[in-house]
Symmetry: C2
Subunit: 221 residues, 2 copies
DNA sequence: TAACTCTTTGTGGATTTCCGTAAGGCATAC
DNA sequence: GTATGCCTTACGGAAATCCACAAAGAGTTA
């Protein structure tokens, strides 16, 4: 089993919960940090001391406070960690349950497991730890079909961007101009209308207002 | 100090963290539930057994799963608990940090403390427990000014209702018809336009979409 | 009562969104 | 090569919004 594990999680209560789980699993060396930058430092120090961490368990969202950090999000931490320490196992442990998000983490950073925080989050996390130790990708049940092809008709980054700009108060015409200016394709008013229309249908929204309200409730934007 | 405390929190890791905090505080009887309905049952049973809970610590958001519950949210649980057990102390422990939300919980249900989950959430929770035991309202630092600045409260229930219906996807014309039907005044399309226009100016919103997005972020709707 | 203010309601017009249709580009399959 | 499907773009009309101004009503004050 793992000998040396790092937990990156800003909320102290969860941090505590994960810590006691690792203790129960009999892992001898456990370190905890509440900031992404601290996590990065610890990882580097481990390598420097010739005693590297074998596993990183990290959240995705870290509330920002007075400190201004270089690594502003869990995703940034994952990206950095994967780039610098290819052998490090990474488990993402987050409330986020959007399949698209999970997919992109796996595709871009080759994370070793994704566990949704939930009623049974800790149990899943325990399984994830065991699976990753034997080099098996682990996804908790909530997101287990993130890799199946069926859910391909999800929304992509372009759609999110579109809705975000809508929510910021831009008209469709203004978005069109902005996209042209930034070389984001498609940028024609007609295409923007078409994409929004598809999204409205997909989310069963009556109009653009409704669409923004729904996606906000879902936490997509 | 409290003798009998109930924790309602769906995520097992946080539940674990809170539990160990209460243990450290020397509270002898601690019970935990992961569903609102279970919390309600426990509270009722306590009274029935002539050994009522003195304190409820509850989250606001509970993910729904296969069970279909009567009390679908933490707020519903709080409402029910306050109505049935006026002497029960209630601490809400949630990530939600919108002042309006805190305000309405205090105004409507007379909760005894509101603690934001954060890096130092557990520490705040400990203070909240002590404060409430001496009948003092406690608000964690993130939301401590929820009661001070009531300046922004120039919007009334009519405005909120209006925006809520917008967010549900109704057109201004449909809202007009609905209001006429329900005898809500003013109900003319013209007046609805005028009110929305005032709100847009007030919130510096470019259009109705923007207005809904802003008020949603503020937790007004 | 008259003057004043505030709110509701109405009207017209510019702008934007909504929705269908159609043309053109581009890749893949036959 | 041609056919096919998918996507972008364009255009036009209906509907909804945004906005300015005017009229009617209700309440207040002098």
């Amino acid at each position: 089993m793992y000998e040396k594990v790092l937990i990156a999680e800003d909320m102290d209560d969860i941090n505590k919960g994960v810590y006691s789980l690792l203790k129960e699993l009999g892992i001898p060396e456990i370190q905890q940090v509440q900031y992404c930058d601290d996590a990065h430092l610890k990882l580097k120090k481990g390598v420097f001391d010739k005693d590297p961490f074998q596993l990183l368990i990290t959240d995705l969202s870290f509330k920002s406070d007075h400190r201004n950090e270089k690594l502003a999000s869990g995703e940034a931490l994952v990206a950095q960690a994967r780039a610098e320490f290819p052998k490090l196992k990474i488990i993402v442990y987050s409330v986020e349950d959007r399949l698209q998000r999970v997919r992109s983490l796996i595709a871009n950073y080759k994370i070793d497991a994704y566990v949704c925080k939930s009623r049974t989050g800790l149990k899943s996390l325990a399984e994830a730890i065991k699976s990753t130790y034997t080099n098996q990708l682990y996804l908790s049940t909530e997101v287990s079909n993130a890799l199946s092809r069926k859910s391909e008709l999800e929304i992509n980054d372009y759609d999110i961007l579109l809705i975000k700009h809508l929510a910021k108060g831009l008209s469709q015409d203004e978005i069109s101009h902005l996209f042209k200016q930034k070389d984001i394709s498609p940028s024609s008013l007609s295409s923007i209308e078409k994409h929004l229309n598809r999204l409205r249908i997909q989310f069963k929204a009556n109009n653009a207002i409704h669409l923004v309200a729904i996606t906000k409730d879902l936490g997509l934007i």
